[in-house]
């Protein structure tokens, strides 16, 4: 039997704004339940939503990165349904004036590059969380901390033809959102969620039959996504064989994926399909997006990870792995390029940033955006190592200090006297050389002209570019002159 798999995706991405979409409560994952709530996100009587500026900027940024058209005016609507995690009884979303429309995302497939069309990108607020404890109380418990978290919903055309393509598409979305730094896209924590609409086009007797669409939810990892979609193909084929149901017979059915069983189960039949009674949100005026702002955001998007990876390999000679790591985040790649500017060995800088800077951020729990050390200081540090003043082992010490204090590497090297030569063997060599080149002064000293030692010390300092430890060098000199 000849058939085609047809998949479209609705991806929800939680934004990393400091505050929630419509109130000033902190937007952060987890925490003590119901401690990040206020009149607005708890849906108290009399409370009104107030749009977060950053949410709109992030949405424009994301839309531009996905090659979308940005609306000049974008508006909010109410999507009405009642559920315990939805305190107002409606979700503020966007219906007919979404912020972005008509984009595309290129993915790599076995047959080369393929464009997946994006219908729209809109903003909405997340719901709270219902907790189901096995406590025998017959209750579920609601935590509203997540309620009001800004979300982007990205809706694709049904352009994907295999589970693999669907996964690549969502991975592509994830890469771009992470790169822009607007979401951490953690599927386990739910900051990236994907619902997939999947059905089959079956070709029989020169006709095309379309099986009922399943909207598959609860896919909490890429592996789960792949398995769920593979399962659905198998299930729909079997169902077709048995019942020969088509889309017009049953419409769309919502199915939840169960990771333990590897199966999908019906969550909602068509006849229960909700009527959301969308209407324009009267509490919010539409938002005007000027061409200037769009241009500014366009500049911020700049070059996307895929192009950047290629350029890093060709321009700086980086290995693919290193290029991928650095190109995954806009802030990180900018940092690398600033540090590599005017330095002749970008590969070395790249590996420094990946291992040392990356390690530091990891232990400190910081993001690259929060890292205050100017990239030029990394360049300087490299140069100091190159000039042989300090070893690369010492350089790590210097880095640890400058990452914390923000001092320049020169200052640290001086302060910690890391540049002084105290090594006896090395200094003996310098003393011998100076003595050899200045026999007159050596003779003068030995005749009792004490000041000659000053001249010789001066020579030693000049020879070591001031790096000789004066006490140690003087002691050796006196010893060699026979004064010790």
């Amino acid at each position: 039997m000849k058939y085609e798999v047809v998949i479209g995706c609705e991806v929800h991405v939680q934004l990393l704004t400091k505050t929630k979409a419509f109130c000033s409560c902190e937007n952060r994952f987890g925490g003590i339940p119901n401690t990040r709530v206020c009149p607005v996100c708890l849906g108290l009587p009399g409370a009104l939503p107030v749009v977060n500026q950053k949410m709109i900027e992030d949405a424009v940024l994301a839309g531009l990165a996905l090659n979308c058209k940005v609306a000049s005016v974008t508006g909010f609507d109410r999507k009405n349904y009642m559920y315990p995690d939805l305190p107002k009884g409606y979700q503020i979303s966007q219906y007919d004036m979404p912020v972005c429309t008509g984009g595309k995302l290129d993915i790599e497939t076995g047959d080369g590059k393929k464009s997946i069309r994006i219908i729209r990108l809109h903003m909405e607020e997340d719901a709270g969380k219902n907790l189901h404890l096995e406590d025998g109380s017959g209750l579920s418990y609601v935590d509203f901390n997540r309620c009001g978290t800004p979300l982007l919903e990205i809706v694709s055309e049904p352009d994907m033809r295999s589970p693999l393509e669907a996964v690549s598409y969502v991975q592509g979305i994830r890469e771009i959102m992470k790169y822009l730094g607007i979401s951490d896209c953690n599927m386990e924590e739910g900051s990236l969620r994907c619902d997939a609409n999947i059905n089959l086009w079956i070709y029989e007797d020169d006709k095309r039959y379309e099986t009922p669409i399943s909207e598959v939810k609860n896919m909490n990892s890429f592996k789960a996504m792949r398995n769920a979609l593979k399962y659905e193909i198998k299930r729909q084929l079997a169902e077709w064989g048995e019942k020969r149901l088509t889309l017009t017979d049953t419409g769309k059915v919502t199915r939840g994926y169960n990771d333990r069983t590897g199966e999908t189960v019906v969550q909602r039949e068509k006849e229960e399909e909700a009527d959301y009674r969308y209407f324009p949100e009267p509490d919010l005026k539409p938002v005007v997006i000027t061409k200037d702002l769009e241009a500014e955001m366009g500049k911020r998007v700049g070059e996307l990870p895929a192009a950047k990876r290629k350029r890093f390999v060709s321009q700086y000679g980086l290995k693919k792995g290193a290029a991928s790591v650095l190109a995954a985040s806009k802030a990180l790649s900018d940092y690398f390029e600033a540090a590599a500017k005017g330095y002749r060995e970008p590969v070395k800088i790249a590996s420094w940033i990946i291992t040392e800077v990356g390690g530091y951020l990891n232990t400190e729990g910081l993001t690259i955006e929060e890292f205050s050390l100017p990239p030029e200081n990394i360049t300087k540090l490299m140069e100091i190592v190159d000039s042989g003043i300090i070893s690369s082992k010492i350089a790590k010490k210097v880095f640890a200090r400058m990452a914390g204090s923000g001092e320049s590497p020169d200052t640290i090297v001086k302060k910690l006297k890391l540049n002084q030569i105290t090594d006896r063997d090395k200094l003996e060599g310098f003393v011998a050389e100076v003595m050899k080149e200045n026999p007159q002064s050596v003779a003068d000293f030995r005749k009792g002209k004490d000041h000659a030692i000053k001249f010789l010390m001066g020579r030693i300092m000049k020879l070591t570019k001031g790096r000789a430890n004066p006490q140690v060098a003087a002691a050796i000199l006196r010893e060699k002159l026979g004064d010790g």
Partner: protein, 484 residues
């Protein structure tokens, strides 16, 4: 000093500023007025609660006046409708569903007034969720018209009008969605003012029809209204539908020179359908306007025949969504006698909401639901757009639009309670200002042969509050000179 209860806010302010009376004396006097009315066989039932600590607050205000730390309204009383939140006070919107709810924050309007030292003395009765034109749809029972207790106060801010008209408060806050301040003001013989949509913040005003809701002021003296608006108005960062207006110089009001001002009288609100006695008061009011040199003219505005239909589609649509938050999950009434979530919702709401609220929730969900949206909600919004355009065009040519506030004089309690549509038609004169966002004032312009109050309504341009209140003041001064 004379009697305190019955004096206006402005007069009391003068007495307080001169030190001729204390805040304690003022509050005590109004409280006594309230207490003595409560003992009557048929109390007015204007207050749901007179705050037991009001006198304590008055003592503090008197201290503040002594130490010179007082605001411009220090120690002055105001009554507040039960749908405008005051932090740590109860607020029920006249409904059983908000039983036990204590506000954790104050509305912006109350907060701004309290920052200037005003003392909210009590919560006033209202139609449940401001849905009603008589103040009979309250869980606390109806308020009675102080002029004749067998008659309705008008609604929904009936309690506010009753306490002002009976000298239990000098001034009161009400709220409007379709005339809920002006109508009871007209029925009780006081001034009632609805500002332009956006002049006052809606934050902390429990939402009914968000695109029209606006806090209003009821008093026997237009200067009181000007004083309150001057303090409470202007942009609020918690309400992005509020506007950056500056009415700080509104108080004290000067009289208005009406000479040469053209005033439009809609034929649709002055002929057929208007009670004869109301028509007589309108004629007398017109004569006065002419005597002041104004030029009243009859103008046809056919769209005014459709305002009741528009309003009773749009307001319930918004209300159905605004009232979805009363679900028994977080606050207010919670009926847990059922077995599951659906029972919690249905039992709580069926028990908590009165019949009129249920009708409007139903209507709202009906006009928004799939299949009816275009014929009702969308159509109403389109006609609303045409109405706005038409009224703004008329107000370019005319200074004000004049009509009765109500097509009928006050009617007896219970006479319309079982006929929702005839109740709705009481709003025919007031609704257009709400739909078109315009400011409007109801002026006590005369009485019927039975001595029942009749109000006339002036509607002005967007943000033309000053001109409207000055016209009201001109009438007020004439009344004080005994010319009417």
């Amino acid at each position: 000093m004379g009697q305190i209860a019955g004096k206006s806010l402005t007069e009391l302010k003068r007495l307080l500023d001169r030190g001729e009376v204390s805040a304690l004396e003022i509050i005590t006097s109004f409280k006594e007025q309230y207490e003595s009315d409560r003992k009557k066989p048929v109390p007015l039932n204007g207050y749901i609660e007179f705050f037991s600590d009001a006198e304590e607050l008055a003592v503090k205000a008197d201290e503040a006046r002594k130490t010179g730390t007082s605001g411009i309204l220090e120690g002055l009383p105001i009554a507040v409708k039960d749908n405008i939140l005051i932090s740590s006070r109860k607020a029920t919107c006249g409904s059983a569903i908000l039983q036990g709810f204590t506000a954790p924050y104050s509305s912006t309007v109350v907060e701004r007034l309290m920052n200037e030292g005003i003392i909210p003395v009590g919560r006033t009765n209202m139609d449940e969720f401001a849905m009603g034109s008589t103040c009979e749809y309250s869980v606390y029972g109806s308020s009675k018209n102080p002029v004749n207790r067998e008659y309705v106060t008008g609604g929904s801010s009936g309690g506010s009008a009753a306490v002002v008209a009976s000298g239990q408060a000098p001034c009161a806050l009400g709220s409007e969605t379709g005339g809920s301040v002006r109508l009871p003001a007209s029925f009780c013989g006081t001034y009632g003012f609805k500002p332009t949509y956006g002049s006052l913040s809606r934050y902390g005003l429990v939402a009914f029809g968000s695109s029209m809701d606006q806090i209003g002021v009821i008093s026997g003296d237009p200067d009181d209204i000007a004083l309150v608006i001057s303090v409470a108005s202007g942009f609020d960062s918690n309400d992005f539908t509020s506007e950056d207006v500056d009415f700080s110089a509104l108080f004290p009001l000067k009289r208005m020179r009406l000479k040469g001002k053209k005033i439009a009288i809609p034929e649709e609100l002055s002929g057929e359908g208007i009670d004869k006695e109301v028509g007589i008061v309108l004629e007398r009011f017109c004569s006065w306007l002419r005597s002041e040199g104004a030029v009243p003219e009859r103008v046809s505005m056919p769209l005014l025949k459709t305002t009741v239909a528009m309003y009773y589609i749009i307001a319930p649509a918004e209300a159905s969504s605004n009232l979805a938050r009363y679900d028994g999950v977080r606050y207010g009434l919670r009926d847990i006698t059922g077995n599951n979530l659906e029972d919690l919702y249905v039992n709580t709401r069926t028990k908590g909401f009165g019949d009129e609220v249920k009708r409007r929730i139903f209507l709202g969900n009906y006009v928004l639901s799939a299949g009816y949206y275009d014929a009702y909600y969308k159509k109403a919004m389109q006609v609303r757009y045409l109405l706005k355009k038409e009224l703004n065009r008329i107000l370019e040519e005319y200074e004000y639009i004049l009509s009765p506030t109500s097509p009928v004089p006050p009617f007896k309690l219970g006479s319309k309670i079982d006929n929702p549509l005839s109740m709705y038609l009481t709003d025919i004169c007031t609704i257009f200002a709400n739909l078109a966002l315009l400011p409007a004032v109801s002026i006590p312009a005369g009485t019927t042969s039975d001595g029942l109050p009749v109000g006339m309504q002036l509607t002005g341009r967007m943000f033309g509050e000053k001109g409207l209140l000055r016209a009201a003041k001109t009438w007020f001064l004439k009344g004080r000179r005994g010319e009417i």
